[in-house]
Symmetry: C2
Subunit: 363 residues, 2 copies
């Protein structure tokens, strides 16, 4: 059993490590860190709770940001909307929450819950609904287990608070996205209120301690970025897919998402090759010289060569040197019920899912 507290130092590692798992999405780690920092300074460190430590009848609610990451880095929150969203879901449940959780891993969405938790004096659960980041509300382990996304609240910095009760997680996505777009492209949400017994059944466990470890490893790497990245990849059962320099970038913010593709020209053993990574908030598919090497739901993460820091899709820029990694997704996402929520076809891709390890093992 892990019992630890997340203070300012841990927050730095968490933001970076979660952005690695955020696979291009889940929000910028710098903005994410700033968000929770002040609350922890004011209220002190936040306790991290193992999933098994949560009582069966305890109420756990996820807090997150919804919208296009490209908007999130520019639309600064007012401060009270997170609490307003959280309180609205509590009220709809007729109970106070006993703990806060992250719905996904990401630079912002792994740190926002600590701001709420610090304010309310609640612990944060060491687990989430994805073990990575996905762009849509229904792409969550709880939904794959048949648990409802709503009551879900959407709140903006002006003071608008909307409570959704939808017939499916897909409808929570559709209606929530419409609200977020109307509110300027990014808003805060509280969603997936679950009881402890359902949390134990459906959460992806240990995501935060994993993110903390990844963040600490990369921080210690310093200038030895390539070595650190290779060590990390190997430890996580991943594969280094490509190394190169960004030579083209198409990126559009519309309908509450960032969508596009980045082209990377190869360096060292990939010289003469090219890699394309497509994205919808998160990276979706990595293609090298026309061959798909990895796809959702596996994790595709870009790390900047200079700093060994993860690069979110809204921070991609021409000329940046990056490593492209594939990391295995949580086992749930490789099951039929996981692929039904977050397989390649859920993103409109005409592609069957094959684990990246099997794709790479092909002659």
């Amino acid at each position: 059993m892990t019992r630890r507290r997340i203070g300012l130092e841990e927050l730095e590692d968490l933001a970076i490590g979660a952005a690695v798992l955020g696979t291009g999405g889940g929000g910028d780690p710098y903005v994410g860190k700033l968000w929770a920092r002040q609350r922890i300074l004011d209220r002190g460190p936040v306790e991290l709770l193992d999933v098994d430590e949560v009582a069966d009848d305890a109420l756990v609610v996820a807090a997150a940001m919804m919208g296009a990451p490209s908007v999130i880095v520019e639309k600064i929150p007012g401060g009270s909307e997170l609490l307003a969203a959280f309180r609205a879901v509590e009220q709809a449940c007729g109970a106070r929450a006993d703990a806060v959780m992250c719905i996904e891993a990401g630079g912002i969405n792994s740190t926002i819950p600590f701001a709420v938790a610090a304010d309310l004096g609640l612990p944060v659960v060491d687990g989430d609904g994805m073990g990575r980041a996905f762009p849509e509300v229904q792409m969550v382990s709880f939904a794959a287990h048949g648990l409802p996304a709503t009551p879900m609240a959407v709140a903006d910095e002006l003071g608008n608070v909307t409570l959704l009760r939808s017939v499916s997680a897909e409808w929570a996505e559709r209606l929530g996205r419409a609200l977020v777009v109307a509110e300027g492209g990014a808003s805060v949400i509280a969603q997936y209120p679950v009881r402890g017994r359902d949390l134990k059944l459906a959460a992806i466990r240990g995501t935060l301690t994993l993110a903390l470890q990844i963040g600490a490893d990369l921080r210690r790497a310093g200038r030895q970025s390539r070595r650190a990245i290779e060590d990390l990849t190997s430890r996580l059962g991943g594969a280094l897919l490509f190394h190169g320099k960004i030579v083209d970038l198409r990126r559009e913010t519309a309908s509450g998402f960032v969508r596009g593709a980045v082209d990377i020209g190869g360096l060292d053993r990939w010289a003469g090759s090219s890699c394309q990574v497509t994205f919808q908030n998160e990276n979706l598919v990595a293609i090298v010289d026309g061959t798909v090497l990895a796809s959702v739901p596996d994790l595709i993460t870009l790390l900047e060569e200079e700093s060994a820091h993860p690069v979110t899709t809204e921070r991609l820029r021409f000329g940046m040197r990056v490593f492209v990694l594939a990391l295995p997704c949580a086992p749930l996402w490789r099951e039929p019920r996981g692929l039904a929520k977050a397989g390649p076809r859920c993103f409109g891709l005409d592609l069957d899912y094959v684990p990246f390890e099997r794709r790479l093992a092909r002659p």
Copy 2:
């Protein structure tokens, strides 16, 4: 003091008369009549209550349809969503409603409240928030008096129920419209929960008895449509602006509204003249031979020559012979606080409001 009951016969007159006041919007009277008919058949007539009969601390909630009228005529309700929206607002207010009200006059939005009222055994108030129909949530007498539009609920036929708490009626419009569009273009809403004392202060009084009277007059007209229309116009202090045949129609359903313009070629004393009426759900401006004769917030209503029935904007069709009427709006809309909510500039028109009586009196 009027005390009367609305049964099936009154419903017919109400739907037609309210569509006259609906000034092209507020929904089709045929669909509106069907909506309430079954509920009144099942539960019996509904009591109509004078505004002054409502107790000061009684809670009154408006029920309506929101969206493009062109969608409303095709998207048939599931039946329970009206009650779901109404209940959601009651719950948010922490009290049961004592009466139902119409937010506007219109073929659907003057009859929907009777469906809710019949179900719940509540009276309907003889007054509304417009005395006509307007397309947007903030264009309401209660908003002009500074009263909030929310808590407001939006519900669809699938079972999705969303509760908005917005910082202004304008934000309720923006967020509500986004939800309605995501739900297919039309949904039911409950909104503007007001206490009796505020109702007495801000409601446009007598709208329903006026609609009933107009409907009865037109029903009795039979084939004497022109005479009936002239009598009606004169009795309501209005003016007959034009008589002609529809020769062109541009109509688009987008962003939750029907927008467009209809061109009418003149007959009898208007032979050789042409009239254009522009609309956003409701008719906005009537222009004859290049001169504006009437504009919002005054009422511009088209009546079909053959039947003397009002023509809603989604029912306009090439070749239809129509009379174009201007009727005076409720006095509130001619005050600065009324024009700030529903004057021509609120519709993006570069036009100062001049009452149609003054426009017609010009040499």
